[in-house]
């Protein structure tokens, strides 16, 4: 590649940004060469998203300047960013579900009151884009009918249609199967060959190694280092991200599973709109075992979690706890907790915490009926705070201040607070969804250790995660869910490609 003569596609100089007391970006300078895939890696809250939001015009930097193609520019809104040839593919797609691909494509670029002409030209560009990059998408399909991988492709097309020369992708593989992620990388490489510049934000080291040319590491708002990808290693990157040596490998002794604790028989769930979300599930979780449920997000895992924690009533089927069938009356969150089934929800901010409450009050959520916390109708504040302090210490929640509001803790510490609440009550069964989503590496290590510890004490754990690596390193057995049913069972040593096929709904027989 000879791009010495071309100016940098993007150059950020001394970008500084505060959010109140939070110093989100500290004097960040970053040069992105044209025609490269540049990775941006860092823990949650390291300031990656803020930096990209500044580049895309969502926020303005307090200080510093932005250069596009060597010219200094002011980017005050996404519209200006788009005009400068910067496109962004968000982690959560910005598509209108009940519009067609074509309609989404022209959205915001209609260029007139009558749509006919713009549709015609959009259709033509779509063909060109298809030819150049192999981005195949049915133009007239509704977004809601497309699988997630294709929806993401529409997002990319949208950016290219607006003339993006620089494409920012924010955690693009979070919702994809390993296979779909592979396709995405092929597309990214093709885009690079055509001279586009790509900025890939991720926290997955493997992806950085697989697809980027250059990688920049951010930590606590500052840009720590920029390296040539081929001359570095995942371990080195992890160390740079966290600022200390981290153990990526989880030590876990083999352990024989005990008696069945939770048994699910023919469990089905049909949602109010008549869609079958769970299809006749059958499985057993034993004492002293971590059962991992793998699968791409949206294949029934969330619904299963809701049913087993008592938040949602199944349509049919039976759930047995310690051999005894649970009646409808038993299937509510309160009774489930009382029968020693704890639940760490997938979405901690939506379900697991009240963000405006102090840590101490969050630490009793769901257990606030306990005698320990209340004398009569009144809550015992002193006892609650003392109790929270102990829990926070045991789970290394930082800062260990019970009166601090939950929203002021980092994602990892919020998650540790929930784990502390649920595990400190010593449940026989822990149902846990996405235990480390949006959690930094240091905290991941800690959380994984605590889960294994719980299993080693003979407790049962049902683990649901979209991170295949996590499932594989924690679980004793793995079930793969696809389209509301169990596509297959495998051991944690099963090769990833094989699990990936099951996740994509291709059974082993068919694959063979």
């Amino acid at each position: 590649m000879t791009h010495e003569k071309r100016p940098a596609a993007i150059e950020l100089r001394g970008i500084d940004k505060h959010f109140g007391a939070v110093h989100a970006n500290k004097d960040v300078s970053l040069t992105i060469e044209p025609g490269t895939i540049h990775g941006l890696i860092g823990e949650n809250g390291a300031g990656k998203s803020t930096l990209m939001s500044i580049l895309y015009g969502f926020y303005q930097a307090d200080r510093g300047s932005i250069l596009v193609d060597g010219k200094e520019v002011q980017i005050r809104s996404p519209a200006q960013a788009i005009a400068l040839g910067i496109g962004m593919v968000h982690q959560h797609f910005m598509l209108v579900e009940n519009f067609t691909v074509l309609e989404n494509l022209v959205l915001g670029a209609e260029g007139g009151a009558v749509l006919n002409r713009c549709f015609a030209s959009a259709r033509m560009s779509l063909d060109t884009l298809k030819r150049e990059y192999g981005l195949n998408v049915p133009a007239n399909a509704l977004i809601s009918d497309l699988p997630v991988g294709l929806q993401q492709r529409v997002e990319i097309l949208k950016a290219l249609y607006r003339g993006a020369e620089v494409l920012i992708l924010d955690e693009p593989t979070g919702v994809l199967t390993p296979g779909e992620a592979g396709h995405l990388f092929v597309v990214l490489r093709k885009l690079k060959e055509q001279g586009k510049t790509i900025l890939l934000i991720t926290h997955k080291l493997r992806e950085i190694m697989a697809v980027t040319d250059v990688v920049s590491v951010m930590r606590k708002g500052a840009l720590i280092d920029t390296l040539e990808t081929h001359s570095t290693t995942p371990a080195r990157l992890a160390e740079l991200m966290v600022g200390r040596n981290v153990n990526l490998k989880l030590a876990k002794a083999k352990r024989a599973a005990g008696a069945p604790l939770l048994e699910v028989r023919d469990l089905s769930l049909v949602d109010p709109s008549g869609v079958a979300r769970l299809k006749a599930l059958n499985f057993i979780v034993h004492e002293g075992e971590i059962l991992g449920l793998a699968g791409v997000a949206g294949n029934g895992q969330s619904e299963l979690l809701e049913v087993l924690s008592g938040m949602r009533r199944p349509t049919s089927g039976e759930i047995l706890l310690r051999g005894k069938p649970l009646s409808d009356a038993d299937l509510n969150p309160r009774s489930m907790r009382m029968s020693s089934v704890a639940h760490v929800p997938e979405d901690r901010q939506r379900l697991g915490l009240v963000m405006s409450f102090p840590a101490s009050e969050n630490a009793i959520l769901g257990y606030h009926d306990d005698k320990v916390y209340a004398n009569g109708v009144l809550l015992d504040r002193a006892a609650i705070i003392a109790d929270a302090r102990v829990k926070m210490r045991n789970f290394d929640v930082r800062p260990p201040e019970p009166l601090l509001r939950a929203s002021l803790f980092s994602g990892g510490n919020q998650q540790k607070l929930i784990l502390a609440r649920e595990i400190e009550h010593d449940p026989d069964l822990l149902i846990i969804g996405q235990p480390t989503r949006g959690v930094d590496i240091g905290a991941i290590e800690f959380i994984h250790r605590r889960l294994v510890e719980l299993r080693d004490r003979g407790k049962a754990i049902l683990l649901i995660s979209v991170e295949l690596d996590e499932i594989r390193s924690l679980s004793d057995r793995i079930l793969v869910m696809f389209d509301g049913a169990i596509a297959g069972e495998c051991s944690p040593d099963t090769p990833e490609t094989e699990i990936g096929l099951l996740m994509a709904g291709i059974s082993r027989e068919k694959a063979a």
Binding site: F19, M311, S356, F357, H368, V377, R381
Partner: protein, 371 residues
């Protein structure tokens, strides 16, 4: 990463309400100036009328009592995430309940009537909130819609009852007969006279004390009790309430019933404490102003007391103003009150972004100064 700037508590609790008030007064001053009145003189009249005489203070606190009750009513539902704008109707129906007790049982000893009236006010107020509460909890009909509809139903119901059943025979007035002496809440200047306190005469009565008791009860309920914890959880994050196994539908109903009961207590002040008979339209908008009081008072009893007194000052001082300056009509006073309500309620967050930015800037300067 979109963390909003954290303001110091005093900016949130004092500075922003103060700015809102100042803006309302500034606009009022402009309006007064355009009709050729001196705004400073008008402000002086309002303050003098409301606070510079014993009688004025009595009236101010009498109005404030209404606002405390309706403010608490809105706040308790607000904590549970519900927007009860039906305090008007709930208080109106509670007036019926109090009147029925005071008319029917006036042969009983006075303290007993007071207790029964308190119960009736709470019961009737809560009852009027029950159907909207049920519809919200079990059917998902939004309380904003249903409670405002119930305000109209309450108005029609009370007219019907006053005209056809409750007015004394031969009377053309749509109101009940005057309550017997022992079925009235004693005025404070009367009640405190035996203690040697010589207060000027005003409609301020014992329900003011009850309002303060309710504030204390409100505080304990919301921030110290298990029920309050559940209500706050429901309001702050209904999904978390569901997740932690709280009875969401039941809590919704309880919050609305409590809200109706607080609103109902307004009848004690107006009907039993001052009018001594049930009259038409006695609520005259206090229920709605309660929303602004609660928002301005940050749904906290201390804040509600302050906001209620402020509105009491506006009511009492405003009445004086209309009386002293013939050029300033009653409507002009209502306009000023409306501006305060608009700034404190509807446009509560108008100055928020600027304040946020200001504090962010200050912090940055401080950081820069440090290093």
């Amino acid at each position: 990463m979109s963390a909003r700037a954290e303001l110091p508590w005093w900016a949130n609790l004092l500075l922003i309400p103060f700015l809102n008030l100042a803006a309302a007064f500034a606009i009022s001053a402009l309006i007064l100036a355009t009709i050729g009145e001196d705004p400073f003189q008008a402000a002086a009249i309002i303050l003098r009328g409301a606070l510079f005489s014993g009688e004025g203070i009595g009236y101010t606190l009498f109005y404030a009592t209404n606002f405390i009750f309706t403010g608490l009513a809105f706040a308790v539902a607000f904590h549970a995430g519900l927007f009860n704008i039906g305090a008007e109707g709930q208080a109106y129906v509670a007036g019926l309940g109090v009147a029925l007790v005071c008319l029917s049982f006036d042969s009983l000893p006075s303290p007993l009537i007071v207790l029964m009236s308190i119960a009736a006010a709470a019961l009737f107020g809560a009852a009027w909130a029950l159907i909207p509460a049920y519809l919200q909890a079990r059917r998902g009909s939004h309380v904003v819609i249903t409670t405002i509809m119930f305000n109209f139903i309450a108005a029609a119901l009370v007219v019907y009852l006053l005209v056809n059943h409750l007015s004394p025979p031969g009377s053309m007035q749509p109101e009940t007969r005057t309550f017997a002496e022992n079925a009235r809440l004693p005025f404070l200047h009367v009640a405190l006279a035996p203690l040697g306190l010589d207060l000027p005469s005003s409609p301020l009565n014992l329900s003011f004390i009850w309002a303060l008791v309710c504030c204390l009860f409100f505080y304990v309920l919301i921030w110290r009790s298990r029920l309050g914890f559940e209500l706050r959880t429901l309001g702050a994050n209904p999904n978390a309430a569901l997740y932690s196994g709280m009875p969401v539908a039941r809590l919704t109903i309880i919050a609305m019933l409590l809200s109706g009961a607080f609103a109902g207590f307004m009848a004690l002040n107006e009907i039993m404490g001052s009018q001594h008979r049930m009259i038409l339209d006695y609520t005259s908008g206090y229920g709605f102003v309660g929303i602004a009081v609660a928002l301005m008072g940050r749904a906290h009893p201390i804040g509600i007391i302050f906001a209620a007194v402020l509105f009491g000052v506006l009511y009492q001082g405003g009445a004086e103003l209309a009386f002293e300056r013939p050029n300033i009509t009653r409507d002009m006073v209502v306009l000023i009150q409306g501006l305060v309500i608009m700034m404190a309620g509807g446009l509560e967050h108008m100055f928020r972004p600027q304040i946020d930015r200001l504090f962010a800037m200050r912090r940055r300067k401080a950081l820069a100064a440090v290093g």
